[in-house]
Protein backbone atom coordinates (compact mmCIF):
# COMPACT_ATOMS: atom_id res chain seq x y z
CA UNK A 1 0.00 0.00 0.00
CA UNK A 2 1.43 3.38 -0.95
CA UNK A 3 1.88 6.15 1.59
CA UNK A 4 -0.93 8.04 -0.05
CA UNK A 5 -3.28 5.08 0.21
CA UNK A 6 -2.30 4.53 3.81
CA UNK A 7 -3.14 8.10 4.66
CA UNK A 8 -6.46 7.91 2.86
CA UNK A 9 -7.32 4.73 4.70
CA UNK A 10 -6.48 6.38 8.01
CA UNK A 11 -8.53 9.43 7.08
CA UNK A 12 -11.54 7.21 6.44
CA UNK A 13 -11.19 5.70 9.91
CA UNK A 14 -10.84 9.11 11.50
CA UNK A 15 -13.89 10.51 9.72
CA UNK A 16 -15.89 7.50 10.82
CA UNK A 17 -14.97 7.75 14.48
CA UNK A 18 -15.09 11.53 14.67
CA UNK A 19 -18.60 11.90 13.28
CA UNK A 20 -18.59 15.68 13.24
CA UNK A 21 -16.79 17.73 10.58
CA UNK A 22 -13.06 17.10 10.94
CA UNK A 23 -10.57 19.85 10.28
CA UNK A 24 -7.97 19.20 7.62
CA UNK A 25 -5.47 21.06 9.79
CA UNK A 26 -5.87 18.58 12.65
CA UNK A 27 -5.25 15.68 10.29
CA UNK A 28 -2.31 17.41 8.66
CA UNK A 29 -0.56 17.42 12.03
CA UNK A 30 -1.25 13.75 12.57
CA UNK A 31 0.32 12.80 9.26
CA UNK A 32 3.15 15.32 9.02
CA UNK A 33 1.57 16.81 5.96
CA UNK A 34 0.82 20.32 4.92
CA UNK A 35 -2.80 21.38 5.03
CA UNK A 36 -3.15 21.55 1.22
CA UNK A 37 -1.70 18.04 0.91
CA UNK A 38 -4.21 16.78 3.43
CA UNK A 39 -7.07 18.53 1.71
CA UNK A 40 -5.96 16.85 -1.52
CA UNK A 41 -6.08 13.45 0.13
CA UNK A 42 -9.58 14.12 1.42
CA UNK A 43 -10.70 15.25 -2.03
CA UNK A 44 -9.22 12.20 -3.71
CA UNK A 45 -11.08 10.03 -1.26
CA UNK A 46 -14.21 12.03 -1.94
CA UNK A 47 -13.85 11.45 -5.66
CA UNK A 48 -13.35 7.73 -5.15
CA UNK A 49 -16.56 7.49 -3.12
CA UNK A 50 -18.50 9.19 -5.87
CA UNK A 51 -16.89 7.18 -8.62
CA UNK A 52 -17.78 3.85 -7.15
CA UNK A 53 -21.24 5.15 -6.27
CA UNK A 54 -20.75 4.28 -2.65
CA UNK A 55 -23.56 4.59 -0.14
CA UNK A 56 -21.31 6.93 1.82
CA UNK A 57 -20.19 10.40 0.89
CA UNK A 58 -17.66 12.86 2.20
CA UNK A 59 -18.76 16.44 2.32
CA UNK A 60 -16.50 19.43 2.57
CA UNK A 61 -17.12 22.71 4.27
CA UNK A 62 -14.43 25.25 4.89
CA UNK A 63 -11.58 22.72 4.96
CA UNK A 64 -13.51 20.46 7.24
CA UNK A 65 -14.69 17.07 6.08
CA UNK A 66 -17.49 14.87 7.28
CA UNK A 67 -18.63 11.37 6.47
CA UNK A 68 -22.33 11.04 5.69
CA UNK A 69 -24.73 8.95 3.65
CA UNK A 70 -25.50 9.29 -0.02
CA UNK A 71 -28.79 11.19 -0.10
CA UNK A 72 -30.02 8.89 -2.85
CA UNK A 73 -30.46 6.20 -0.24
CA UNK A 74 -32.62 8.30 2.04
CA UNK A 75 -35.69 6.29 1.13
CA UNK A 76 -34.19 3.11 2.43
CA UNK A 77 -33.05 4.75 5.62
CA UNK A 78 -36.52 6.11 6.05
CA UNK A 79 -38.00 2.65 5.62
CA UNK A 80 -35.49 1.12 8.01
CA UNK A 81 -36.50 3.67 10.61
CA UNK A 82 -40.23 3.42 10.17
CA UNK A 83 -40.78 0.51 12.54
CA UNK A 84 -38.90 2.23 15.35
CA UNK A 85 -40.81 5.37 14.78
CA UNK A 86 -43.84 4.05 16.58
CA UNK A 87 -41.89 2.16 19.15
CA UNK A 88 -39.39 4.47 20.62
CA UNK A 89 -38.30 7.54 18.85
CA UNK A 90 -41.36 9.64 19.40
CA UNK A 91 -40.02 9.87 22.92
CA UNK A 92 -36.86 11.56 21.72
CA UNK A 93 -37.89 15.17 22.13
CA UNK A 94 -39.51 14.57 25.50
CA UNK A 95 -36.49 12.71 26.68
CA UNK A 96 -34.10 15.45 25.61
CA UNK A 97 -36.43 18.02 27.14
CA UNK A 98 -36.47 16.16 30.45
CA UNK A 99 -32.71 15.80 30.51
CA UNK A 100 -32.27 19.50 29.88
CA UNK A 101 -34.92 20.48 32.43
CA UNK A 102 -33.46 18.41 35.23
CA UNK A 103 -29.80 18.70 34.49
CA UNK A 104 -29.43 22.20 33.21
CA UNK A 105 -27.08 23.67 32.32
CA UNK A 106 -26.10 20.77 30.16
CA UNK A 107 -23.99 20.22 27.01
CA UNK A 108 -25.07 18.48 23.85
CA UNK A 109 -22.41 15.87 24.52
CA UNK A 110 -24.11 15.01 27.80
CA UNK A 111 -27.50 14.72 26.18
CA UNK A 112 -26.06 12.50 23.45
CA UNK A 113 -24.31 10.27 25.89
CA UNK A 114 -27.29 9.86 28.18
CA UNK A 115 -29.60 9.07 25.28
CA UNK A 116 -27.01 6.97 23.47
CA UNK A 117 -28.02 8.63 20.24
CA UNK A 118 -27.01 11.85 18.60
CA UNK A 119 -29.50 14.54 19.48
CA UNK A 120 -28.63 17.35 17.09
CA UNK A 121 -31.99 17.53 15.39
CA UNK A 122 -34.01 17.11 18.53
CA UNK A 123 -32.06 19.88 20.16
CA UNK A 124 -32.50 22.11 17.12
CA UNK A 125 -36.23 21.52 17.27
CA UNK A 126 -36.41 22.40 20.94
CA UNK A 127 -34.45 25.57 20.34
CA UNK A 128 -36.61 26.51 17.38
CA UNK A 129 -39.68 26.14 19.53
CA UNK A 130 -37.99 28.29 22.15
CA UNK A 131 -38.30 25.71 24.86
CA UNK A 132 -34.55 25.50 25.19
CA UNK A 133 -31.84 28.10 24.72
CA UNK A 134 -28.10 28.42 24.94
CA UNK A 135 -27.11 29.66 28.35
CA UNK A 136 -23.35 29.91 28.37
CA UNK A 137 -20.23 27.86 27.93
CA UNK A 138 -18.92 25.02 30.01
CA UNK A 139 -15.48 25.50 31.51
CA UNK A 140 -14.56 22.01 30.33
CA UNK A 141 -12.09 21.41 27.55
CA UNK A 142 -13.35 22.79 24.26
CA UNK A 143 -15.77 25.05 26.13
CA UNK A 144 -18.92 23.39 24.78
CA UNK A 145 -22.19 25.29 24.70
CA UNK A 146 -24.52 24.84 27.67
CA UNK A 147 -28.26 24.56 27.25
CA UNK A 148 -31.09 25.31 29.62
CA UNK A 149 -34.85 25.79 29.61
CA UNK A 150 -36.57 29.05 28.69
CA UNK A 151 -39.56 30.84 30.21
CA UNK A 152 -41.46 29.36 27.25
CA UNK A 153 -40.78 25.93 28.67
CA UNK A 154 -42.38 26.88 31.98
CA UNK A 155 -45.38 28.30 30.20
CA UNK A 156 -45.83 25.28 27.99
CA UNK A 157 -45.94 22.87 30.89
CA UNK A 158 -47.69 25.18 33.28
CA UNK A 159 -44.86 25.57 35.78
CA UNK A 160 -44.37 28.76 37.68
CA UNK A 161 -40.72 28.12 38.25
CA UNK A 162 -38.22 25.33 37.91
CA UNK A 163 -38.86 24.34 41.52
CA UNK A 164 -42.26 23.18 40.34
CA UNK A 165 -40.74 20.33 38.38
CA UNK A 166 -42.04 17.07 39.78
CA UNK A 167 -39.69 15.58 42.31
CA UNK A 168 -38.35 12.24 41.38
CA UNK A 169 -36.86 9.97 44.00
CA UNK A 170 -33.10 9.82 44.09
CA UNK A 171 -32.90 12.89 42.04
CA UNK A 172 -30.40 14.44 44.41
CA UNK A 173 -27.86 11.70 44.22
CA UNK A 174 -28.52 10.71 40.68
CA UNK A 175 -28.70 13.98 38.94
CA UNK A 176 -27.11 16.72 40.88
CA UNK A 177 -23.98 15.12 42.19
CA UNK A 178 -21.54 13.79 39.67
CA UNK A 179 -23.41 14.91 36.62
CA UNK A 180 -20.80 16.42 34.39
CA UNK A 181 -18.04 14.01 35.08
CA UNK A 182 -20.27 11.09 34.58
CA UNK A 183 -21.49 11.88 31.14
CA UNK A 184 -18.05 12.92 30.13
CA UNK A 185 -16.92 9.39 30.61
CA UNK A 186 -19.86 7.74 29.13
CA UNK A 187 -20.15 8.21 25.41
CA UNK A 188 -19.90 4.56 24.78
CA UNK A 189 -17.76 4.13 21.77
CA UNK A 190 -16.21 7.38 21.13
CA UNK A 191 -15.32 10.45 22.99
CA UNK A 192 -13.97 13.26 21.05
CA UNK A 193 -11.51 15.64 22.45
CA UNK A 194 -12.54 18.92 21.03
CA UNK A 195 -9.44 20.38 19.48
CA UNK A 196 -9.30 23.87 18.17
CA UNK A 197 -12.56 23.56 16.36
CA UNK A 198 -14.76 24.35 19.26
CA UNK A 199 -12.46 27.00 20.58
CA UNK A 200 -12.81 28.73 17.32
CA UNK A 201 -16.52 28.73 17.74
CA UNK A 202 -16.03 30.53 20.99
CA UNK A 203 -13.93 33.11 19.29
CA UNK A 204 -16.49 33.76 16.64
Amino acid sequence: MSANQKIKSALESLLFVWGDPLEAKVCAELFNLSVPETVDCFRELMGEYEERESGLRIREMDQRFQLCTNPENDDYIQRLCTPIKEKRLTQAALEAMAIIAYRQPVTKGEIDSIRGVRSDRVLEGLIRRELVAECGRSTAIGRPILYGTTPGFLAQFGFESLEDLPQIEDIGTLVLSDSYEFSDELTAHQIRIPLEEENKEVAQ
Partner: protein
Protein backbone atom coordinates in the same frame (compact mmCIF):
# COMPACT_ATOMS: atom_id res chain seq x y z
CA UNK B 1 10.98 -21.93 47.80
CA UNK B 2 8.76 -23.52 45.23
CA UNK B 3 5.97 -21.01 45.01
CA UNK B 4 6.62 -17.41 45.71
CA UNK B 5 3.55 -15.98 44.16
CA UNK B 6 0.97 -13.48 45.14
CA UNK B 7 -1.69 -15.28 47.07
CA UNK B 8 -4.68 -13.99 45.28
CA UNK B 9 -3.53 -14.73 41.78
CA UNK B 10 -5.13 -18.14 41.66
CA UNK B 11 -8.62 -18.38 40.33
CA UNK B 12 -9.35 -21.50 42.30
CA UNK B 13 -7.92 -24.75 43.61
CA UNK B 14 -7.40 -26.21 40.15
CA UNK B 15 -5.60 -23.14 39.01
CA UNK B 16 -3.27 -23.49 41.99
CA UNK B 17 -2.78 -27.19 41.50
CA UNK B 18 -1.99 -26.87 37.81
CA UNK B 19 0.52 -24.20 38.69
CA UNK B 20 2.21 -26.35 41.32
CA UNK B 21 2.37 -29.35 39.00
CA UNK B 22 3.85 -27.37 36.16
CA UNK B 23 6.22 -25.61 38.47
CA UNK B 24 7.49 -28.93 39.84
CA UNK B 25 8.03 -30.06 36.25
CA UNK B 26 5.74 -33.01 36.69
CA UNK B 27 3.70 -34.57 33.97
CA UNK B 28 0.05 -33.99 34.59
CA UNK B 29 -0.44 -37.67 33.64
CA UNK B 30 1.99 -38.81 36.29
CA UNK B 31 1.44 -36.65 39.30
CA UNK B 32 3.66 -37.34 42.30
CA UNK B 33 0.73 -37.13 44.66
CA UNK B 34 2.64 -37.09 47.92
CA UNK B 35 4.95 -34.28 46.83
CA UNK B 36 2.24 -32.15 45.34
CA UNK B 37 -0.05 -32.62 48.34
CA UNK B 38 2.68 -31.36 50.62
CA UNK B 39 3.16 -28.30 48.47
CA UNK B 40 -0.53 -27.65 48.19
CA UNK B 41 -1.05 -27.87 51.93
CA UNK B 42 1.86 -25.65 52.69
CA UNK B 43 0.53 -23.08 50.27
CA UNK B 44 -2.75 -23.12 52.10
CA UNK B 45 -0.95 -22.74 55.41
CA UNK B 46 0.73 -19.65 53.98
CA UNK B 47 -2.60 -18.26 53.01
CA UNK B 48 -3.82 -18.72 56.55
CA UNK B 49 -0.68 -17.20 57.98
CA UNK B 50 -1.25 -14.11 55.87
CA UNK B 51 -4.83 -13.95 57.01
CA UNK B 52 -6.19 -14.68 53.59
CA UNK B 53 -9.55 -16.30 53.95
CA UNK B 54 -9.08 -19.72 52.49
CA UNK B 55 -12.06 -20.43 50.35
CA UNK B 56 -13.98 -23.58 51.02
CA UNK B 57 -13.10 -24.85 47.56
CA UNK B 58 -9.40 -24.89 48.38
CA UNK B 59 -10.07 -26.99 51.47
CA UNK B 60 -12.19 -29.43 49.53
CA UNK B 61 -9.40 -30.13 47.09
CA UNK B 62 -6.94 -30.45 49.98
CA UNK B 63 -9.13 -33.16 51.44
CA UNK B 64 -9.38 -34.87 48.06
CA UNK B 65 -5.61 -34.80 47.70
CA UNK B 66 -5.07 -36.32 51.12
CA UNK B 67 -7.54 -39.03 50.31
CA UNK B 68 -5.77 -39.72 47.06
CA UNK B 69 -2.44 -39.87 48.79
CA UNK B 70 -3.83 -42.45 51.17
CA UNK B 71 -5.15 -44.53 48.28
CA UNK B 72 -1.78 -44.43 46.61
CA UNK B 73 -0.17 -45.74 49.79
CA UNK B 74 -2.56 -48.66 50.04
CA UNK B 75 -2.64 -50.23 46.63
CA UNK B 76 -5.60 -52.51 46.05
CA UNK B 77 -7.17 -51.70 49.35
CA UNK B 78 -10.50 -50.92 47.78
CA UNK B 79 -10.63 -53.74 45.35
CA UNK B 80 -14.17 -53.26 44.20
CA UNK B 81 -13.70 -49.75 42.97
CA UNK B 82 -10.13 -49.83 41.83
CA UNK B 83 -9.10 -53.24 40.56
CA UNK B 84 -5.39 -53.56 41.20
CA UNK B 85 -3.18 -52.65 38.30
CA UNK B 86 -6.07 -51.57 36.09
CA UNK B 87 -7.15 -48.15 37.08
CA UNK B 88 -4.94 -45.47 38.42
CA UNK B 89 -6.56 -43.74 41.40
CA UNK B 90 -5.24 -40.49 40.01
CA UNK B 91 -7.13 -40.72 36.75
CA UNK B 92 -10.17 -38.81 37.96
CA UNK B 93 -8.12 -35.92 39.19
CA UNK B 94 -6.11 -35.95 35.99
CA UNK B 95 -9.24 -35.80 33.87
CA UNK B 96 -10.59 -32.86 35.81
CA UNK B 97 -7.31 -31.01 35.72
CA UNK B 98 -7.01 -31.57 32.00
CA UNK B 99 -10.48 -30.30 31.43
CA UNK B 100 -9.81 -27.24 33.56
CA UNK B 101 -6.49 -26.62 31.84
CA UNK B 102 -8.06 -26.78 28.45
CA UNK B 103 -10.55 -24.07 29.33
CA UNK B 104 -7.84 -22.04 30.97
CA UNK B 105 -5.97 -22.14 27.68
CA UNK B 106 -9.11 -21.19 25.81
CA UNK B 107 -9.47 -18.28 28.22
CA UNK B 108 -6.03 -17.11 27.13
CA UNK B 109 -7.05 -17.42 23.53
CA UNK B 110 -10.17 -15.41 24.27
CA UNK B 111 -8.04 -12.75 25.90
CA UNK B 112 -6.01 -12.45 22.70
CA UNK B 113 -9.15 -12.19 20.64
CA UNK B 114 -10.44 -9.53 22.98
CA UNK B 115 -7.21 -7.60 22.63
CA UNK B 116 -7.63 -7.53 18.86
CA UNK B 117 -11.12 -6.17 19.16
CA UNK B 118 -9.94 -3.25 21.28
CA UNK B 119 -8.33 -1.84 18.15
CA UNK B 120 -11.61 -1.79 16.31
CA UNK B 121 -13.96 1.12 16.78
CA UNK B 122 -17.61 1.50 15.97
CA UNK B 123 -19.76 4.60 15.82
CA UNK B 124 -22.92 5.59 17.65
CA UNK B 125 -26.19 5.56 15.78
CA UNK B 126 -26.94 8.64 13.72
CA UNK B 127 -29.71 10.96 14.74
CA UNK B 128 -32.67 9.26 13.11
CA UNK B 129 -35.16 12.02 13.77
CA UNK B 130 -35.04 13.43 10.26
CA UNK B 131 -36.33 10.05 9.11
CA UNK B 132 -38.90 9.47 11.76
CA UNK B 133 -40.92 12.62 11.53
CA UNK B 134 -41.70 15.47 13.89
CA UNK B 135 -42.15 14.05 17.33
CA UNK B 136 -42.05 17.56 18.69
CA UNK B 137 -45.82 17.37 18.54
CA UNK B 138 -45.58 15.37 21.69
CA UNK B 139 -44.32 18.40 23.50
CA UNK B 140 -47.86 19.69 23.62
CA UNK B 141 -48.67 16.89 26.01
CA UNK B 142 -49.23 17.11 29.70
CA UNK B 143 -46.98 17.05 32.66
CA UNK B 144 -47.60 13.40 33.43
CA UNK B 145 -46.10 12.41 30.14
CA UNK B 146 -43.23 14.70 30.76
CA UNK B 147 -42.56 13.10 34.12
CA UNK B 148 -42.79 9.69 32.54
CA UNK B 149 -40.16 10.60 29.99
CA UNK B 150 -37.96 11.75 32.77
CA UNK B 151 -38.40 8.55 34.71
CA UNK B 152 -37.37 6.65 31.61
CA UNK B 153 -34.29 8.78 31.50
CA UNK B 154 -33.46 8.10 35.13
CA UNK B 155 -33.77 4.41 34.49
CA UNK B 156 -31.39 4.65 31.59
CA UNK B 157 -28.95 6.64 33.62
CA UNK B 158 -28.89 3.99 36.30
CA UNK B 159 -28.24 1.39 33.68
CA UNK B 160 -25.48 3.44 32.17
CA UNK B 161 -23.89 3.84 35.55
CA UNK B 162 -23.82 0.11 35.95
CA UNK B 163 -22.20 -0.24 32.59
CA UNK B 164 -19.72 2.45 33.42
CA UNK B 165 -17.94 0.10 35.79
CA UNK B 166 -17.11 -1.99 32.79
CA UNK B 167 -15.65 0.72 30.66
CA UNK B 168 -12.28 2.32 30.59
CA UNK B 169 -10.98 5.18 28.60
CA UNK B 170 -8.34 4.62 26.02
CA UNK B 171 -6.09 7.59 26.60
CA UNK B 172 -5.41 9.99 23.85
CA UNK B 173 -1.84 9.52 22.79
CA UNK B 174 0.26 12.59 23.10
CA UNK B 175 2.78 13.12 20.40
CA UNK B 176 6.11 11.46 21.10
CA UNK B 177 9.60 12.86 20.56
CA UNK B 178 10.14 10.36 17.77
CA UNK B 179 7.03 11.52 16.03
CA UNK B 180 7.98 15.18 16.47
CA UNK B 181 11.47 14.57 15.09
CA UNK B 182 9.93 12.90 12.09
CA UNK B 183 7.75 15.93 11.64
CA UNK B 184 10.69 18.32 11.89
CA UNK B 185 12.58 16.28 9.30
CA UNK B 186 9.64 16.52 6.99
CA UNK B 187 9.74 20.30 7.31
CA UNK B 188 13.38 20.20 6.29
CA UNK B 189 12.41 18.46 3.10
CA UNK B 190 10.90 21.73 1.99
CA UNK B 191 13.69 24.03 3.10
CA UNK B 192 17.08 23.58 4.76
CA UNK B 193 16.73 26.31 7.34
CA UNK B 194 13.91 26.72 9.82
CA UNK B 195 13.01 28.93 12.70
CA UNK B 196 11.87 27.41 15.95
CA UNK B 197 8.72 29.45 15.77
CA UNK B 198 7.85 27.77 12.49
CA UNK B 199 7.94 24.38 14.14
CA UNK B 200 5.23 25.08 16.61
CA UNK B 201 1.71 25.54 15.46
CA UNK B 202 0.09 28.77 16.45
CA UNK B 203 -2.26 27.17 18.92
CA UNK B 204 0.32 24.87 20.50
CA UNK B 205 0.11 24.33 24.19
CA UNK B 206 3.02 24.23 26.56
CA UNK B 207 3.42 20.49 26.07
CA UNK B 208 3.94 20.95 22.34
CA UNK B 209 6.46 23.72 22.78
CA UNK B 210 8.49 21.71 25.29
CA UNK B 211 8.24 18.62 23.12
CA UNK B 212 9.45 20.54 20.09
CA UNK B 213 12.33 22.03 22.04
CA UNK B 214 13.42 18.66 23.39
CA UNK B 215 13.15 17.19 19.91
CA UNK B 216 15.40 19.89 18.53
CA UNK B 217 17.92 19.20 21.30
CA UNK B 218 17.77 15.53 20.38
CA UNK B 219 18.50 16.40 16.74
CA UNK B 220 21.46 18.48 17.87
CA UNK B 221 22.72 15.54 19.89
CA UNK B 222 22.41 13.34 16.84
CA UNK B 223 24.44 15.97 14.99
CA UNK B 224 21.67 16.24 12.45
CA UNK B 225 21.18 19.97 12.83
CA UNK B 226 23.01 23.08 13.90
CA UNK B 227 21.28 25.73 15.97
CA UNK B 228 21.92 29.40 16.43
CA UNK B 229 20.20 32.06 18.46
CA UNK B 230 21.33 35.43 17.13
CA UNK B 231 19.58 37.45 19.79
CA UNK B 232 19.01 36.75 23.43
CA UNK B 233 15.43 35.42 23.85
CA UNK B 234 15.16 35.67 20.06
CA UNK B 235 14.00 33.00 17.68
CA UNK B 236 16.26 29.98 17.24
CA UNK B 237 17.51 29.14 13.78
CA UNK B 238 17.85 25.49 12.94
CA UNK B 239 19.94 24.43 9.97
CA UNK B 240 20.02 20.94 8.57
CA UNK B 241 23.53 19.52 8.48
CA UNK B 242 24.76 17.96 5.22
CA UNK B 243 23.35 14.85 3.68
CA UNK B 244 23.97 12.48 6.54
CA UNK B 245 20.62 13.00 8.10
CA UNK B 246 18.69 13.02 4.87
CA UNK B 247 18.71 9.27 4.53
CA UNK B 248 17.05 8.35 7.77
Amino acid sequence: MTYKVKLDVFEGPFDLLVYLIEHARMSIYDIRVSEITTQYLSYIRDMKRQDVTVAQEFMVLAAALIELKAKMLLPGSEEEEIPEGEEDPRSELVARLLEYKRFKEMAEFFAQQEEISTHIHTKPREDLDPYTGPEEELLRTDIEQFARAFRAFLFRKKKLEEIRQDYERVERQRMSIEHKIEQIRSFFRRKPKLRFSELIARESDRYDVVLTFVSVLELVKQAAVRVRQPKQFGDIEIVLKGDRSQGS
